[in-house]
């Protein structure tokens, strides 16, 4: 019953039931809008806006049928595949490069560290909209437009300061005695990083992986600017093709596809969040 003290509830069956009931009640409110969207995907398209009814007057799968028709001969599976390729490569690149940079910032001392740290934080402060055109020109000079390189290069080069900073915060929370004693035993920086730091900041790495996956999965602006050929489109670009001002938007298909697009992200989250539970025990290392 170690966990007891960390969580809000106490022991006993009654309080456990009360906990579940409480959380479920809260969830009912939080999830209502999503349930509404899920239900809306079975409504005729015209019934979606302006009707608050949760359940369709007449359930139809027409919205899903239209989604599975694909766009100009490109099957919907293709868009999922493109999104998956981008998301997985983003995760690999971001976790690896951010962890390396974070270790340097958190544990190593070298000239210019503070300056570079300040530069890194300042990249968080500038709205990306004003960077789009200069960045586009860089990739265009390199003849990389309409490839996935512009979307992935930054991921492999630790350009997301958010994650570097996140991992820095976690590493700094690890007792320094660990690396010191390893170093006394003759370990070099790489083995300290690989054998001690990485395993211990797993929650941060998992968090980084989850966020990178989701953000890449939902990213609209990057693919919009850099990709032109429709069969390279990821899901968010395919989604907007159900919207049109003059001939009318197909909100039914839009929402059906949004729901389908949620499935992989939920699975990814469910799978990886388990590693957050297991956690890291630093017991016996301190004091």
């Amino acid at each position: 019953m170690r966990q007891r003290v960390i969580t809000a509830g106490g022991g006993g069956n009654l309080s456990r039931v009360a906990w579940h009931v409480g959380v479920l009640a809260l969830l009912a409110i939080v999830l209502y809008p999503i349930v509404w969207v899920a239900a809306a995907t079975f409504k005729p398209s015209s019934e979606i806006i302006g009707s608050l009814q949760l359940l369709p007057s007449e359930a139809t799968t027409a919205n899903y049928d239209r989604v599975f028709e694909g766009v100009v001969g490109i099957g919907v599976g293709r868009f999922f595949l493109n999104s998956a390729v981008l998301a997985v490569l983003s995760v690999v690149g971001t976790v690896a490069s951010s962890a390396l940079a974070a270790y340097a910032f958190a544990r190593l001392r070298f000239r210019g560290r503070t300056t570079m740290f300040v530069i890194m934080i300042s990249t968080l402060l500038l709205p990306f909209h004003v960077l789009i055109i200069p960045q586009y020109i860089v990739f265009q000079k390199l003849d990389l437009i309409d490839t996935y390189v512009p979307l992935l290069a930054g991921k492999f080069l630790a350009s997301e300061a958010f994650f570097v900073f996140l991992i820095v915060q976690f590493i700094r929370n690890l007792p320094r005695e660990l690396d010191e004693s390893a170093k006394i035993d003759g370990a070099n920086h790489w083995s300290v990083f690989w054998h001690i730091i990485l395993p211990l900041c797993r929650p941060a790495l998992i968090t980084t992986a989850i966020f990178t996956f989701i953000w890449s999965w939902n990213d609209f602006f990057g693919p919009l600017i850099y990709l032109s050929t429709p069969d390279k489109y990821p899901l968010p670009l395919a989604l907007q093709l159900f919207i049109d001002e003059s001939t009318g938007s197909d909100f039914g298909a839009l929402m059906a596809m949004s729901m389908l697009a949620l499935v992989p992200v939920i699975l990814f989250f469910l799978f990886f969040q388990r590693f957050l539970v297991e956690g890291v025990s630093t017991s016996g290392l301190k004091g």
Binding site: A104, A106, V130, H189
Partner: protein, 323 residues
């Protein structure tokens, strides 16, 4: 396990001032090369992808640049114009209000949920995914539609308010409530800080709680004197990043309120106005100046937060470093 280890120290200083005293160097020699090696991907990235475009935008902020023709140098004109631009002033006001409301509400909710879901319970994975759910959808048109529906004039929310005598006529169309609607949207999508809090809670050594329990500390006391200090680095991270992000709120607000910040400009956030100027009106020089003005403003807030952090953020790993 003395209580002393959990008192906050001043180690956050390491970010703002170089602490490479002679004694330090004597103790930890030769990190230089390793540091640059570990940092090399980041250095390449910053030079190739980030710094160039950033400095370009700084340069453009002193020019009149319409995207298609060469920029023309105008000096400080763009910066001066902002202060007499009524919409710019409004966007600052709207954004500041939003930051002040959304950040504390979202963080408090995220921390509460994280505490609730921390620990071994049946179905914990499901619950976490469920609370994360709203954040998974991102800022698509679908979200905009749903959220407006939830607060429309015949929605549950509005009907409930009516029974206590508040007639909003639907939040989405009411200038007095539209901002609040977006604040709630931010709080609804609390997944990111929640997960970070959860990860932080995992780092708290259980022995501390056991020791505290032996000492007879109550639940609140344990939260105040163990949990909070031990996750303070994560709290700081979330506070800083959520603040920075809130200043730059864009996607969700754009799909709900459009480039004009409907209704009646009450959701005209800073970056929405910036984007509208840059890509709607082709005044990228002005937009760049706005961006750098924002960097300056948020930079000040950031420095301020780092300064206060010295007083309350605690890093286990830096404690051995001291003195």
């Amino acid at each position: 396990m003395s209580r002393a280890t959990i008192t906050p120290d001043r180690s956050a200083e390491v970010y703002t001032t170089e602490r490479t005293g002679p004694r330090k160097r004597a103790r930890l020699p030769g990190d230089g090369l390793a540091g640059y090696l570990f940092l090399s991907p980041w250095i390449i990235g910053i030079v190739l992808l980030t710094l160039g475009p950033m400095l370009t935008s700084l340069y453009l902020s002193f020019t009149d640049y319409d995207l298609f023709n060469s920029p023309e140098w105008v000096g400080l004109e763009n910066y001066e114009r902002m202060f007499s631009d009524a919409r710019w002033l409004r966007s600052v006001e709207v954004t500041a209000l939003y930051v002040a409301l959304a950040v504390p509400i979202k963080l408090a909710a995220a921390l509460a949920v994280a505490l609730l879901l921390n620990g071994k319970r049946r179905g914990q994975g499901f619950y976490r995914a469920a609370f994360y759910g709203p954040s998974l959808i991102g800022g698509s048109v679908g979200v905009a539609i749903v959220w407006k529906m939830m607060f429309s004039d015949d929605s549950v929310v509005d009907q409930l308010l009516l029974t206590v005598g508040i007639d909003t006529g639907g939040w989405a169309g009411n200038p007095d409530f539209s901002l609040m609607m977006l604040v709630l949207l931010a709080a609804w999508q609390l997944g990111a800080p929640m997960v970070i809090f959860l990860a932080g809670l995992k780092q708290v050594p259980r022995e501390l709680y056991e020791a505290a329990e032996v000492d007879g500390a109550g639940r609140w006391r344990r939260f105040r004197s163990i949990t909070l200090p031990m996750i303070s680095s994560v709290v700081f991270f979330n506070l800083l990043l959520e603040t920075i992000n809130a200043f730059q709120v864009f996607t969700s607000a754009y799909v709900v309120g459009g480039p004009n910040g409907q209704p009646a400009g009450t959701t005209l956030f800073y970056t929405i106005y910036l984007f509208d100027r840059g890509f709607g009106d082709y005044r990228m020089g002005y937009a760049s100046a706005m961006a750098w003005m924002l960097l300056l403003g948020v930079g000040l807030v950031t420095v301020f937060l780092f300064r206060t952090a010295r007083g309350w953020v605690y890093y286990s790993g830096d404690s051995g470093d001291k003195r």
